[in-house]
């Protein structure tokens, strides 16, 4: 599964990439914000996006809305990764087309379950 991992923190990208490797996902491309994500998604081939929420230039929710508005990318599932678990934000993400969400802190098993749930 080709995954685009979007987070402005190189440390968090590293941690999440390690987590994805632990659960068997090694085909991972990194993007450092929403703008970079949109640019990389245009190249095609991605099957899943893991999207941080708080990022400069273009936030995760803005990038999610752009992805869902583009016929070329609208069918790519997006899992939102957030450190804030308020229901209003999660509702906004789901209403904007997010396939699922994961709240930091999370265990590798939790991320694996979220990914498995959208593959079904």
């Amino acid at each position: 599964m080709k995954i685009l991992l979007v987070d402005d923190s190189s440390t968090m990208r590293r941690i999440q990439k390690n987590t994805l490797e632990k659960i068997g996902h090694t085909d991972v491309t990194e993007a450092e914000d929403g703008v970079d994500a949109i640019k990389k998604l245009a190249a095609g081939g991605f099957e899943l996006v893991l999207m941080d929420w708080n990022m400069p230039n273009m936030t995760g929710i803005e990038a999610l809305k752009k992805i869902k508005a583009d016929p070329a990318t609208k069918d790519i599932p997006v899992i939102m990764v957030t450190s804030e678990s308020e229901k209003t934000r999660i509702m906004e993400a789901i209403q904007s087309g997010a396939a699922n969400y994961v709240v930091k802190p999370f265990q590798p098993e939790t991320l694996a379950e979220k990914i498995s749930s959208i593959k079904k």
Partner: protein, 156 residues
């Protein structure tokens, strides 16, 4: 109406620290006895700090001896640094960011917003709390070494 700051308001940060260490570092962090923070000095070498704003303002800090910071962040990142490295300092900031972000869910009465994390390096450095803020320190132990959680809050 301003909400009075109570010891109970520190509990979400303690719980969040325990969950963050269990889930993302992979070790058990055990809290010790909560204490009032009587002066600005923290005993350790590296602190990750997040500012809090909203109906309460203040800060949350996680303060580590150097050896604990390196060991914790190596495990957090699956890295193998022997000494302080920029990546270790960034990871300290990410840890406190996750702790503060997760604690927010249990502090809804304050409608708290959190700042970007900052990291301070230096032995016995000082963090000056807001005037009239209520400040607490919770010592933690974990298999990778000791650290402190400091929380300072003032209702607005």
């Amino acid at each position: 109406m301003a909400v009075g700051i109570r010891v109970e308001h520190v509990n979400p940060f303690v719980t969040s620290t325990m969950e963050t260490f269990a889930k993302m570092v992979g070790v058990e962090a055990k809290p010790g006895k909560l204490m009032l923070k009587k002066d600005a000095k923290l005993e350790y070498d590296i602190s990750g700090i997040i500012g809090l704003s909203g109906n309460a303002k203040g800060m949350v800090a996680m303060s580590f001896p150097k050896h604990t910071a390196v060991a914790v962040c190596n495990k957090f990142m699956s890295a193998d640094y022997n000494d302080l490295h920029r990546d270790i300092l960034d990871a300290v900031g990410e840890l406190v960011n996750i702790v503060a972000g997760y604690a927010k869910r249990d502090l809804t009465e304050f409608a708290i917003n959190i700042s970007l994390p900052s990291v301070i390096v230096g032995p016995n450095h000082q963090i000056i709390d807001a005037k009239d803020a209520v400040s607490f320190v919770v010592p933690f132990t974990c298999p990778l070494g000791p650290f402190h959680l400091a929380v300072s809050l003032k209702s607005t």
